[in-house]
Subunit: 334 residues, 2 copies
Amino acid sequence: MPEMNTQIVLASRPQGWVKESDFRIQQAPLPAASGGQVLLKTLYLSLDPYMRGRMNEVASYAANVQIGEVMVGETISEVVESSNPGFQPGDTVSARAGWQSYALSDGTGLRKVDTRRVPATAHLGAVGMPGVTAWYGLLKIGGPKEGETVVVSAASGAVGGVVGQIAKLKGCRVVGVAGGAAKCDYVVKELGFDACIDHRAEGLVKALAAATPKGIDVYFENVGGAVLDAVLARCNPFARIPVCGMIADYNATDRYGVKNLISAVGNRLKFQGFIVSDHMGIWPEALGQLAQWVGEGKIKYRETVVPGLENAPNAFVGLFKGENFGKLVVKVHG
Amino acid sequence: MPEMNTQIVLASRPQGWVKESDFRIQQAPLPAASGGQVLLKTLYLSLDPYMRGRMNEVASYAANVQIGEVMVGETISEVVESSNPGFQPGDTVSARAGWQSYALSDGTGLRKVDTRRVPATAHLGAVGMPGVTAWYGLLKIGGPKEGETVVVSAASGAVGGVVGQIAKLKGCRVVGVAGGAAKCDYVVKELGFDACIDHRAEGLVKALAAATPKGIDVYFENVGGAVLDAVLARCNPFARIPVCGMIADYNATDRYGVKNLISAVGNRLKFQGFIVSDHMGIWPEALGQLAQWVGEGKIKYRETVVPGLENAPNAFVGLFKGENFGKLVVKVHG
């Protein structure tokens, strides 16, 4: 039996919460590299909240995935065949090979990664797209100054954890918001945040006030909903809110209504959405700095590694329920 | 009987909708100018939505008015006595003399105005704080480009009318949102907007979609609430939302919950509050340009002039119900 390419395709567009049955697993013949192509074997697949948006009928900013198409996604892959002089079999690359065990590429967008300096999976997390997202949003939109208070939601996640640690390196007071005591403990004890608020516990508004005695200068927005409302009520004049995501809304059929936007007027708030792929120019600088910080132990991270591509749909569904802890990756090949 | 100074003071902090009984009228002795002071006689008092915020216990960005204090406000005043070499009796100045018929000033913040070139009341409107607010928010935060679609709420108001006319001068498609058919007619026929939507009529979302076939690139926010939600759903990638005010929320005890903020992520929206008094450096340029446009008839405006300071509270209450048409001013003397 020749080896096949295992693929996970979009079976149906989710209505509200994404379900495992919105995906379908299929086998396809293994392609061969020709005419400048390389054949990539997927080592690790990254699972990220933005992928939920690609499953919708109306895509937000990038092309949506069509029914029957392989789901999109970042991977760490190994070059196993190459007809492209830029790549040799055995090279490890960062790619966008999607939810499949093999993929062809013409080399566009492939980036060789050094897995001796930084582990392979970190190139999908703290030294990959999530890390650059944290770096760009915090530093280029948030612009935190020493002594300011920075709040970040989804604080134990792939992006949030890096945001908070960079903010600490910049001399800020850093307060996380996360789901559950275990994640909050980790954020404070392992990542070194000054405080972390459990949004699942009672008294979010009061807890946030207690943790931010000088108000909030930067809020790195990953979740939306009630957390955003609580933050808006604590914002200082000229606060900045880089908007990376609003995961609370991604699966909602009736979204939370935000009531404290009026704070934007009196406090001259800046609330700004961004997508890191719009800013490819900053990637080399950001990745270099992140790799250094990770190498020096100044940025720590945690991962949930799910074994087996066939488990990706289940893990992805759990991502929106906070079942993962830190960066969620799927180990596809060994 | 010597002439007295009629003053309108804050009698109580409004709970929800502001009422006439939240104000009290009182008589005080007429002060005399000494030691560099000037005595100002109020010709016109400007009534503006931001004053509602100053009546609250917690002021948003400027000191709130204390119970028993004279309400704050911009005026066009005549110098009637002067011990300040910079001002002569007979000078007409723009001042912040508040809701009273006379006021003392040490000259700080007074600006002589030429009422031959532009009528006195226009210095409280299109060539005053509201005009500069429109100019700054639209041009410096909104950054409209030729051919883009600009939407402005409270389109027949002192700020909104100027926003839309500047946007037309910049070559944009301009759509207003206003309350009632008469205001919408005025916005299109007199001010030259391409379309205007009556937010009091049924079908706001559908009407906005029809009026913005290419989506929305700039939304100048004056009202908040359901209009903001409808606009968010029509925003193009990289749309800019200068946030001048949210009048729908100023008197609300239970504010509208905005549900479409998720658009900020995919569309990389910038939603930014501002207060024009933070940007005094741009006033001379803005006022010069606005005076020229008004002089040339390129910017038109309408006013509701209420006679008598004693009628200011009633007129102010009506401002939040849309009872005025265009800039609301009170004729105090003259």
